[in-house]
C-alpha cells in the first residue's frame, strides 16, 4: 500500500495531465475550426474575385464594343462634316519621289498652277 502523500501526488499529476490533454485537444479543435473557417472565407472571397473578374471582362468587352462603334467611319465623317465643318480638300498634290527630275518639274509646275503658293488647302500625297 502506497503512502497517502504518494497517492496525492499521483492523482494531482493525473488531474494536471488530463486537464492539459483536454485543453490541448480543445486548442487543436479550435485551431482546426479556425483553419476551416478561414479556408471557407478565403474560398468565398475567391468566388467574389472570380465574379469581379467576370464583371470586369464584360466591362472590357462592352468598352471594346463602344470603341468600335465610336471608331466607325460613318460617325467620324459625320462629326468632321457637321460639327467641325470639315470638307474634302479641293486639290490633291502628288509629288513623285521616284524620279528627282520629275519631282522638281512637278513642284515647279504645281507652284505655278497654284500662284506660287502651296498653302491653298491642297492635300499633299507622296507617291513612293
Amino acid at each position: 500500500m502506497r503512502p497517502p502523500s504518494t497517492v496525492k501526488t499521483i492523482s494531482s499529476y493525473y488531474v494536471a495531465f488530463s486537464s492539459f490533454l483536454l485543453l490541448f485537444v480543445a486548442f487543436l479543435m479550435i485551431l482546426y475550426l479556425g483553419i476551416c473557417a478561414q479556408n471557407i472565407k478565403s474560398q468565398y472571397s475567391l468566388c467574389r474575385l472570380k465574379e469581379t473578374k467576370q464583371t470586369l471582362e464584360r466591362t472590357k468587352l462592352a468598352l471594346k464594343l463602344e470603341l468600335n462603334r465610336l471608331s466607325s467611319l460613318e460617325r467620324i465623317e459625320s462629326i468632321a462634316k457637321k460639327e467641325l465643318g470639315m470638307s474634302h480638300p479641293p486639290n490633291r498634290l502628288i509629288i513623285d519621289l521616284r524620279n528627282p527630275s520629275v519631282l522638281q518639274a512637278s513642284m515647279e509646275e504645281t507652284l505655278a498652277m497654284n500662284d506660287g503658293s502651296l498653302d491653298n488647302g491642297a492635300e499633299e500625297d507622296i507617291a513612293e
Partner: protein, 582 residues
C-alpha cells in the same frame, strides 16, 4: 421509511426503462435514416442544395481583313417571371414598363398567363438588369443566358455580307449563317452545391463541363473600301432615281472580295415593305441579270484565244447585221459603225453588229466552251448564302439567234460575282482565281485555326490573250464608250454595258441596267470593280451612268489603299477636284 425507498427505486427503474425504450426508438430511427433510407434522403438533400449553372459560350466575332471588328457578342441577362408568385400585377407591370420601355398592357398580359414561367424580355442591357434587380419584385427574376446578344458596332456597314442572327444568337443570313458552325460556341455547365443566396459553396463543385467559345471569322473585305463603296453607291442610286444598285470590288490577283454592296439595304428599307425580302437580297450573288455589252469582254477573249480572230482582222460591222432571220442593230448611243472594224474598235465603241459577226465567225461550240471555262452557268463557291448559277442555255438549245444575242450579252444571265470573276481571269494573265470572302478563322485566343489561301480556279485563256484583252479594254476608256470611267493619273481598263431588264419573261419597255466593269491600274491591276445600276432615270447608258461612279469609287479606293498614280501630273493639273460633300 423502507417503503418510501422501495417506491423511489421502483420509479427510478421505470424511468430507466422508459428512457431505454426511447433511446431504442431513437437508435432504430437513426439506423433507419442513416442506413436503410440513406440514398433517398441524400438525393433529397442534394436536390435542395445542388444546382446547375450554365457557363455561357459567346459567339465569335466577324472582322475585316485588318482585324477591325464588324460583329461581336456579349453575354446578357434576361428577365423572366413566375406569374403565380406575383401579388400586385398592375404595379409589377408599371415598374417593369418604366425600366424596360415596353407597354404596360403587354407586360400585364404576359404576367397574367396561368403558368409558372414566362419570358418578359430577353437579353437586356446590364443597366436595365441592375435596375430590375434593385426593384426586388416578387415573382420576377433575372436569368443569365447561355448565349450572348449580337452587336454590329459599324451599324449597317456590310449588312449584306454579315447577315444577321436570331434571338438565341444563331446565324440566320449572310456570313452569320454560312459560318455558323465556326462562330457559335458550345455552352458549358457546372453542377455545384449552393447556399440560400444561390452562391456556390466553396468546394461544392461536383462536375464541370467547360464552355467552348466560338471561333472568329476574318473576312477579306476592307472596312474603308466597303465604306467608300456603300456611300458612293447610295448617293448614285438616289442621284439617278434608280431602283437599285450593286458594286463589287475584287482583288485582281487573289480573287478576294474587298467590298460588296447593294442598295437599298437593310438600313434604307422599311421592314414592313411588301418587297422587304426582295430588296434586302444580296444581289451580287443571289440575282442574275443580262450583262449586256460587258459580256463582250468574254466574247473577245474567246475569239482571240481560239485564234478565230486576230487583233488586226477587219470584221463585218455596219449598223445592222442579219442572224437567224433577224435584223440586229447597234445601240443608239451615238457611235456609228464603219462597214468593217477591228476587234479593238468593236469593243471600244461597243458595236453589237461587229460582236455578232465575231460570234458567228467563232461558232456556238467554241464560244460556249469559253463561257463555261470562265465559270458562267456554275456556282463560284463563294462563302455566301443563296448563290445562283445564272442562266446559260445548254449548247444543244443554241440557235443562230442565241449565238448572236449572247455575243453582245443578251440571252444569257449572270451574277455580278460571275462577271467580275471572269474579267479578273481575263486580265490576270489568264489565271482566274476562286472568289473568296473568308480570309482566316481564329480561335478565342486569336490563334489561326484555318488560313484560306488564294486558289487558282481555272486558266480559261493564255497570258498572251490576257495581255491583248488588257490593251483592248484600255482603249475603251481612252477613246470609246468608257471615257467617263477614266481615273485621272491611272491607266484604267474596262467595258460599259447597257442591257434590257427582263420582267415576267419579257423585256420591260424603257427599263435598263447600266453597268461598268473595270480594273486599275491597267499595267498592274490591283482590283476589278463592277458598278451596276438598275433602271436609272434620264440617261441609261452604262458608260454615262455607271462609268462616273466607277471613276469616283476607284479614285477613292486607290487613295485609301495607297496605290501611287502612274501619271501624278494628270492629277495635279486637274486642280480643284469635284467636292464630294453634300
Amino acid at each position: 421509511m423502507i417503503g418510501w425507498k422501495k417506491k423511489v427505486r421502483k420509479r427510478l427503474i421505470d424511468v430507466f426503462y422508459i428512457l431505454l425504450l426511447l433511446f431504442c426508438i431513437l437508435a432504430y430511427r437513426l439506423v433507419s435514416l442513416q442506413i436503410f433510407q440513406n440514398e433517398t434522403y441524400k438525393d433529397k438533400a442534394e436536390q435542395q442544395h445542388k444546382g446547375t449553372v450554365s457557363l455561357p459560350a459567346l459567339r465569335g466575332s466577324i472582322m475585316d481583313r485588318k482585324y477591325i471588328t464588324l460583329a461581336n457578342s456579349m453575354a446578357l441577362s434576361s428577365v423572366a417571371a413566375d406569374p403565380t408568385q406575383i401579388k400586385d400585377r398592375k404595379k409589377t407591370a408599371l415598374l417593369l414598363s418604366q425600366v424596360l420601355g415596353i407597354s404596360e398592357e403587354l407586360l400585364e398580359s404576359k404576367i397574367t398567363i396561368p403558368t409558372t414561367f414566362v419570358w418578359i424580355e430577353r437579353k437586356i442591357e446590364d443597366e436595365k438588369a441592375k435596375k430590375i434587380e434593385d426593384l426586388k419584385l416578387d415573382g420576377v427574376f433575372l436569368l443569365k443566358e447561355s448565349t450572348g446578344k449580337r452587336f454590329y458596332p459599324k451599324g449597317e456597314l456590310a449588312s449584306h455580307i454579315l447577315g444577321c442572327t436570331g434571338i438565341d444568337d444563331q446565324g440566320l443570313d449572310g456570313i452569320e449563317a454560312v459560318m455558323d458552325n465556326y462562330l457559335k460556341g458550345k455552352p458549358g455547365e457546372m453542377s455545384a452545391e449552393m447556399d440560400r443566396d444561390g452562391r456556390i459553396i466553396p468546394g461544392g463543385v461536383s462536375s464541370i463541363i467547360s464552355a467552348i467559345q466560338g471561333y472568329s471569322v476574318v473576312l477579306t473585305i476592307d472596312e474603308s473600301v466597303q465604306y467608300i463603296v456603300e456611300n458612293s453607291l447610295e448617293k448614285a442610286v438616289k442621284a439617278y432615281g434608280a431602283d437599285s444598285g450593286s458594286v463589287l470590288v475584287m482583288d485582281a490577283k487573289t480573287g478576294e472580295i474587298l467590298a460588296l454592296a447593294n442598295k437599298p439595304d437593310y438600313k434604307s428599307t422599311d421592314p414592313k415593305s411588301p418587297n422587304y425580302m426582295q430588296l434586302t437580297r444580296n444581289s451580287c450573288v443571289c440575282d442574275s441579270y443580262e450583262p449586256g455589252s460587258t459580256f463582250k469582254v468574254i466574247l473577245a477573249a474567246a475569239a482571240l484565244d481560239s485564234g478565230k480572230v486576230k487583233l488586226d482582222d477587219q470584221i463585218q460591222c455596219g449598223n445592222t447585221i442579219q442572224a437567224g432571220g433577224w435584223t440586229l442593230h447597234n445601240a443608239n448611243d451615238g457611235f456609228g459603225g464603219n462597214p468593217t472594224e477591228n476587234i479593238t474598235d468593236i469593243l471600244a465603241y461597243s458595236f453589237n453588229t461587229g460582236s455578232v459577226a465575231i460570234g458567228l465567225k467563232m461558232g456556238s461550240k467554241i464560244f460556249y466552251d469559253y463561257i463555261e471555262k470562265f465559270g458562267f452557268g456554275q456556282l463560284t463557291g463563294i462563302e455566301l448564302p443563296g448563290e445562283t448559277e445564272g442562266i446559260l442555255l445548254p449548247l444543244n438549245d443554241w440557235t443562230e439567234i442565241n449565238l448572236a444575242t449572247i455575243s453582245f450579252g443578251q440571252g444569257i444571265a449572270v451574277t455580278p460575282l460571275q462577271i467580275v470573276s471572269a474579267v479578273q481571269g481575263a486580265i490576270n494573265q489568264g489565271e482566274q482565281m476562286k472568289p473568296r470572302i473568308i480570309k482566316q478563322i481564329l480561335d478565342s485566343e486569336g490563334n489561326i485555326v484555318k488560313d484560306f489561301k488564294p486558289e487558282v480556279k481555272s486558266r480559261p485563256i493564255s497570258s498572251e490573250t490576257s495581255y491583248q484583252i488588257n490593251m483592248i479594254l484600255r482603249n475603251v476608256i481612252e477613246r470609246g464608250t468608257g471615257t467617263k470611267a477614266k481615273i485621272p493619273g491611272y491607266l484604267t481598263g474596262g467595258k460599259s454595258g447597257t442591257a434590257n431588264i427582263v420582267e415576267n419573261g419579257v423585256y420591260a419597255q424603257g427599263k435598263y441596267i447600266a453597268s461598268f466593269i473595270g480594273y486599275v491600274p491597267a499595267e498592274d491591276p490591283k482590283f476589278v470593280m463592277l458598278v451596276k445600276i438598275k433602271n436609272p432615270k434620264g440617261t441609261i447608258w452604262g458608260g454615262s451612268v455607271a462609268g462616273p461612279i466607277f471613276s469616283e469609287i476607284g479614285r477613292e479606293i486607290l487613295w485609301r489603299l495607297g496605290i501611287p498614280p502612274s501619271f501624278p501630273n494628270e492629277i495635279n493639273k486637274l486642280g480643284a477636284t469635284p467636292q464630294k460633300n453634300e
